[in-house]
């Protein structure tokens, strides 16, 4: 299909989509007047039922915990799929039909990481790890949780890389251990749900003590536990993902350098 034909087809499809949009939006209640009863029911009972003051976390890890298990496994599958896609490629690089432009890259020096970036990144590593950890363990209290905390925690590892310490980053990134951590996070979430079933309760029912003070770190039972497990899984998944992509740059760099013997990307 030629680009012009493609644009015409797109124009027709968009006209239809625009009509559907206009129709759907005409039926929506005005901005700020949401009539959905589900959220209001949860808002009325959530704090009393779960002792979690972060109602979004309560929705994520309790009321709609089953949804979140699904989301969790999308993340897990994406990370796993990525390492599969890139791993198969490694075997194929030798017989790749296209050679990178070696000549253009020859004779270029790798720029050194500036000391300002090194110092700033290394100074930020510790606080970032602490903030990530804090976010992952405070889902029941405030707008935080495993998803946010996990990403911030992974950022701490990226900062080590950004500081130019790519060898340290490799040591901090034992792939086998990260794989185990990711699987434990994802599997642990599902297992907490099954533990409730084992006691004759519904899947993902909050069977742990809820604590006395709403919003305390020790409150909300399984909501806090699941959030922590999600944090572990997300952090491991993102370190794996970024590590895989960085390996790719090393692979290309190695080949443009004429297959140097550093053996890093093997």
């Amino acid at each position: 299909m030629r680009p012009r034909q493609r644009l015409w087809l797109f124009a027709i499809a968009v006209a239809g989509l625009a009509a559907c949009y206009a129709w759907a939006f005409a039926g929506l209640p005005g901005f700020g007047r949401y009539p959905g009863p589900y959220g209001q029911v949860i808002l009325k009972d959530a704090v009393a039922q779960t002792n979690a003051t972060g109602v979004v976390s309560a929705v994520n890890f309790y009321y709609r915990g089953f949804d979140t298990v699904g989301e969790e496994f999308i993340l897990f599958t994406a990370a796993a799929g990525m390492s599969v896609v890139l791993r198969r490629l490694r075997g194929e690089t030798e017989q790749s039909p296209v050679q990178p432009p070696v000549e253009a890259a020859r004779g270029r020096d790798l720029p050194q990481t500036s000391s300002a970036i090194r110092v700033a990144a290394l100074l930020l590593t510790g606080p970032t790890a602490v903030i990530g950890w804090w976010l992952a363990t405070h889902a029941q209290t405030n707008p935080s949780g495993g998803f946010q905390g996990g990403v911030v925690l992974a950022t701490a590892f990226m900062l080590v890389y950004l500081a130019g310490e790519s060898l340290t980053f490799r040591r901090l990134r034992p792939v086998a251990l990260l794989d185990v951590a990711e699987a434990m996070g994802a599997g642990g979430f599902a297992a907490v749900g099954l533990a409730a079933i084992a006691q004759g309760l519904p899947y993902l029912y909050d069977f742990l003590p809820l604590g006395k003070v709403p919003g305390a770190v020790t409150s909300s039972g399984t909501i806090a536990l699941i959030s922590f497990l999600v944090g572990i899984e997300v952090a491991a998944a993102f370190v794996l993902i970024v590590g895989e992509l960085l390996d790719q740059t090393l692979l290309v760099g190695q080949r443009t350098a004429g297959g140097g013997p550093s053996g890093e990307a093997g």
Binding site: P3, F31, G39, L43, V55, N60, L89, S96, P97, P214
Partner: protein
């Protein structure tokens, strides 16, 4: 003015779709897909907004305070992280396409087989 958030949603979808259709680069195409997807966050949060409502966190306010809908916020929250991971997967597919065929142009890639 009540319609403005929904116009913003439609605009983000349209811009992203136009980018996907006219794109000549797989990485650019993936970024356009993220733009389309981010419209769902605006839609979800726009739909769940309640005039005068606070964020649904009751750590230091009364549990009876009027708050916005927490369900749509939970949906948007999980999706942000999952989207980032799926984007990484798509990027790795683009990396592989470039290594195999030496191009990131979808029009040229369409001519290859396998």
């Amino acid at each position: 003015m009540a319609i403005v958030p929904f116009l913003v949603v439609a605009w983000i979808v349209a811009v992203g779709l136009y980018g996907i259709v006219t794109s000549r680069d797989l990485i650019h195409q993936v970024v356009c897909l993220i733009v389309v997807q981010s419209s769902t966050y605006v839609l979800l949060l726009g739909v769940g907004y309640v005039t005068g409502g606070v964020a649904p966190y009751f750590f230091d306010i009364s549990v009876h305070a009027k708050a916005v809908d927490p369900v749509v916020q939970a949906l948007a929250l999980t999706d942000v992280v999952v989207e980032a991971a799926v984007t990484a997967l798509l990027m790795s597919l683009a990396v592989q396409a470039h290594k195999r065929f030496g191009t990131l142009d979808p029009h040229e890639l369409a001519e290859f087989k396998g």
